[in-house]
């Protein structure tokens, strides 16, 4: 698929307009959905300050998931309902699956309740990069620990993150590092470390099969302790021989170490890998695809990727500087990039909840709260993005598969499901124990400037929900056919105006409220059914 338009602007700092469209673009790409309160907040800052805050703001790490999972068949004898289960040392057939679900819902909840920070989006990025699957890792605590590790390092140093991930129980389990011994080397992690996590498979990557074998030998000896739920290094299982690497790594020889010191061989391995410029190219391309656009042509490679990669190396692989550089660039804010991405299922579902400020139960009602988070999570899973369980070690196809990339999110199965989800959220909403999680269209509309004027209501809603503009005919069509029930002509505008003013006069009047609610439901249902709502 040819790139329809080349964006030639480069990495130089953006100094253009700073209005709703720019702020919304930044927020949709760096958070989940552009929530009105966030947009208003950042509108008062400069692009530079806004990005700096998103990238650098330090928020405390979130509290752990709790026992939301007692049910008819099971009551946790150890962890009280509503209490932190990650302190438990007992994982069995009854609690493990429930806790895994609890963990996944908790994570979804963190996305919905995210701070004004890039952190949660980066957790998803790293999850898709350093894939583990909860189904394979199996132990709920490992899954939680791994996720916490990604969050802790989300905006830290990439090299340190690779180091930490490499010996984390979840990863040892997922890519068989725990079974990688001198007697029976398992190349799985040694391969993915290079192919998927660092140097990649791009044109500048030429590591060999013997490099895979050599790396695997460096990585022998790590084990998982299921009593303490930590990993450890057993030098008796470590291959003490020397490891020879190929010309791609400058024929580097890693001397075999003995005893406890052998645990440091991995640092030599990572130093060697990170001495390849290709690491910086690979990661910068992946970040670009995640934050800007799926296709990287020569111009973008030259104007954006290369300078960004150089900065990445200069900053010793610190993540913040390059994100700040990319997100404040003219390239990022080039209008050609607005709406150029198809929302991932998580962006779609979580973004909807955030953009409409959908209310969830209080933390005190943890069972319902987790239950609703689970429902949203299942919606995203139905749309082919099941957080915690990407389809395989390469992550979701939409993030890497040429030439379709994010178009892969949209299929004859998922597109109707997307429409069904938005219809549901505007209509009956999600239900649980008599409680509802549903869009309040009146509250949303009330925040649109000039809501009583049908033209401004529609234009303002489109602006808040879309990254692209709608043609005037389309806006007119929406007004006459949806908001004004087919009444034609300007003469009818006052029907909406009167209806809105009547509601505002007496918000407690059911009939007045129903009238505007029905109109607004039809309006937002339609706006979210249009293909434009799939873009961000």
């Amino acid at each position: 698929m040819a790139d329809p338009i080349t964006v030639s602007s480069g990495i130089r700092r953006y100094k253009g307009q700073w209005q709703e469209a720019q702020v919304a673009h930044l927020l949709r790409r760096t958070m989940f959905g552009a929530k009105r309160a966030d947009a208003d907040y950042f509108l008062k800052k400069s692009p530079k300050k806004a990005v700096r805050e998103l990238v650098n703001a330090e928020y405390p790490l979130p509290g752990p998931p709790v026992n939301n999972y007692n049910d008819d068949k099971y009551t946790d004898p150890e962890i009280l309902a509503g209490a932190d289960w990650t302190v438990s040392q007992k994982y069995d057939g009854m609690n493990n699956g429930r806790r895994r679900n609890s963990f996944k819902s908790w994570w979804l909840g963190l996305m919905i309740g995210q701070e004004r920070s890039l952190r949660e989006k980066m957790v998803l990025f790293w999850h898709n990069h350093f894939v583990t699957e909860t189904n394979t890792v199996d132990n709920a605590l490992f899954c939680y620990q791994y996720n916490s590790l990604l969050r802790q390092h989300a905006l830290g140093n990439f090299k340190e993150l690779v180091r930490a991930v490499s010996t984390e129980p979840a990863m040892l389990r997922y890519l068989n590092g725990y079974a990688n011994t001198k007697k029976a080397p398992d190349e799985n992690y040694g391969r993915e470390l290079q192919e998927l996590f660092t140097v990649g498979k791009g044109p500048g990557s030429h590591y060999t099969e013997s490099d895979v074998k050599a790396a695997a030998r460096v990585l022998t000896g790590y084990t998982i302790n299921y009593k303490t739920f930590t990993s450890s290094f057993d030098h008796n299982r470590h291959d003490e021989g020397d490891k020879q690497f190929s010309v791609f790594y400058d024929n580097r020889l890693i001397r075999g170490l003995k005893g406890a010191a052998a645990a440091f061989e991995i640092d030599q391995l990572l130093d060697m890998i990170f001495s390849c410029e290709e690491v910086s190219h690979f990661i910068c391309r992946k970040l670009y695809r995640f934050f800007v656009y799926h296709s990287i042509d020569e111009e973008t490679e030259h104007n954006v990727i290369r300078p960004l990669a150089a900065l990445f190396r200069k900053k010793d692989y610190d993540i913040r500087p390059i994100l700040e550089e990319l997100l404040t660039s003219r390239h990022f804010f080039d209008p050609a990039n607005y709406g150029s991405m198809i929302k991932s299922p998580v962006d779609f579902t979580v973004g909807l909840c955030r953009e409409f400020n959908v209310a969830f139960p209080d933390a005190g009602q943890y069972a319902d709260l987790y239950g609703f988070w689970e429902q949203v999570r299942n919606q995203a899973a139905g749309l082919q993005q099941n957080i915690g369980d990407p389809p395989n070690v390469a992550g979701w196809q939409a993030y890497y598969q040429e030439p379709e990339y994010d178009k892969l999110w949209i299929s004859s199965d998922t597109l109707p499901k997307r429409n069904q989800f938005t219809d549901k959220m505007v209509g009956g909403g999600l239900g649980r124990n008599g409680k509802k999680v549903v869009i309040d269209p009146v509250a949303f509309a009330a925040g649109v400037p000039g809501v009583e004027d049908p033209d401004r209501l529609i234009a303002g809603s489109v602006k808040a929900l879309y990254s692209v503009e709608l043609a005037p005919e389309e806006l007119q069509f929406i007004k006459t056919n949806i908001l004004l029930s087919g009444l034609v002509g300007m003469a009818s505008d006052h029907y909406w105006t009167n209806a809105w003013l009547a509601y505002r006069e007496k918000p407690e009047d059911k009939a007045a409220r129903d009238t505007v609610t029905n109109k607004l439901k039809a309006l937002y249902r339609h706006l979210m059914d249009l293909p434009e709502y799939q873009l961000m």
Binding site: Y293, S340, S411, D413, L415, Q420, G427, N481, S485
Partner: protein, 425 residues
């Protein structure tokens, strides 16, 4: 994870026949209620029979549409500034007490040909004069009822359609994307063709152009996928393609939006769709001011609307005859309410209550059902025409006499039995 299998495609394309709302070429394939009424209609004995509902948006001024010649002086006195001169009123064959607005000669002929029935004073109890409320209340359209039932009857979105017995949409709406009359708490089977051009784009394989841009490229892809997704796009297209010639009575495209919509309906009916209900609509009936030209009250905004209505229905009837499906199609007009008896000072009329309904088709018993409206001598601006027939009596009749459902089914759909009206042969 032993095997690395990420080169295999992992996006499953489910082939399960799920119909869901989507948007193709601006055609909204909208969920309509698989409601008790629709099911009753589908199960009825009236095989192949179709009901076409024509919605006159805004509240048609019934008193200037079907004019009480019998009480002409009172009529004229109540609305001096907009009254139609007595000698211009079109006479109805065999009924000298009632006439039609002069803009509707085709309707006059249809009546003479035995294909038009007029029901006087149709409304519903406690009418509401707000456009929004009147239509929202779901009182007017049978599907409005359906929507309210649906949530209880089908709390889970029903997924058993389309199926071999009913491969087609149960109901099709042309001309308006989402009629509020159809907005139940939940909507299922059915579709809406938002504008006639999009219909022709679909059957001619034309797609909406998306701009040459990154976002445009993505949009084009999503639209393309929407076409592939939609299971009804295929049946619509193939039905439409079976019809290659239609009546010459239709005005050129774009001149009369209602005629454009009805032309599509005729084509789909003749093309063999099993769809039972079609909803078409025209707007502009909200004539608060200057509904007539002062110099000649037979002309003006309302006259133009009625002329279009008359022209469109006539062309549609002619088309149905030519396509040899006239005997299984019945049509009716309705509006959210009528207008006041008295005109206002701006040469228009304000929201009112009861109004006449036209019912047309080969199987219609040409007749005027009900009396010319009467009103007190001392008329005030707030006086309204009284209801003679409840809308639901029409639906009840359509169900039992047209779709031939049994009485109990009809009563369960409409809450209680309603009298059967004599407008079907």
């Amino acid at each position: 994870m032993k095997r690395r299998d990420f080169f295999r495609s992992t996006i499953p394309i489910l082939t399960m026949p799920v119909f869901l709302p989507s948007l193709v070429h601006g055609m909204s394939f909208r969920a309509w209620a698989s409601s008790p009424l629709l099911r009753a209609a589908a199960k009825g004995m009236g095989e192949g029979r179709v009901l076409v509902l024509i919605q006159l948006n805004g509240g048609n001024d019934g008193l200037n549409t079907v004019i009480p010649l019998e009480y002409y002086d009172a009529y004229r006195a109540a609305r001096t500034n907009i009254a139609i001169p007595e000698d211009k009123i079109l006479r109805l064959q065999g009924f000298d007490k009632t006439g039609l607005h002069p803009a509707m000669p085709e309707m006059q002929q249809l009546f003479a040909a035995g294909k038009l029935a007029i029901l006087q004073g149709v409304s519903y109890p406690q009418p509401n004069f707000s456009h929004f409320r009147a239509t929202d209340a779901g009182q007017i359209l049978p599907t409005g009822w359906a929507g309210r039932y649906l949530d209880e009857e089908y709390p889970q979105f029903p997924r058993n359609y389309p199926n071999p017995e009913m491969p087609d949409p149960l109901a099709i709406q042309v001309g308006s994307l989402v009629s509020p009359a159809l907005q139940g708490p939940s909507l299922t089977m059915g579709m809406a063709i938002s504008n006639p051009n999009s219909f022709y784009d679909l059957i001619n394989d034309k797609s909406e152009p998306a701009g040459q841009s990154r976002a445009g490229d993505q949009l084009a892809y999503i639209r393309e996928m929407a076409v592939k997704t939609d299971q009804y796009a295929g049946v619509i297209k193939s039905a439409a393609q079976k019809v290659t010639r239609q009546s010459d009575c239709y005005p050129p495209p774009g001149k009369n939006p209602l005629a454009d919509q009805l032309k599509i309906v005729a084509r789909l009916v003749a093309g063999g769709l099993k769809t039972r209900f079609y909803l078409v609509s025209m707007g502009g009936f909200d004539t608060h001011a200057r509904q007539v030209e002062t110099a000649d009250t037979t002309t003006g905004a309302h006259a133009k609307l009625l002329a279009r209505l008359s022209e469109a229905i006539n062309a549609f009837q002619d088309d149905l005859t030519g396509l040899q499906v006239g005997d299984r199609v019945m049509g009716m007009t309705f509006s959210e309410f009528g207008r006041r008896i008295q005109s206002n000072a701006s040469g228009g009329t304000d929201h009112g209550a009861a109004a006449p309904v036209f019912i047309f088709g080969d199987k219609v018993k040409a007749n005027i059902i009900g009396q010319n409206p009467v009103w007190p001598d001392k008329l005030t601006v707030n006086d309204n025409l009284a209801m003679q027939y409840d809308f639901r009596a029409i639906y009840s009749t359509m169900l039992e006499k047209w779709f031939q459902t049994d009485e109990s089914a009809t009563a369960s759909v409409l809450f209680k039995p309603y009298p059967i009206l004599p407008f079907i042969v």
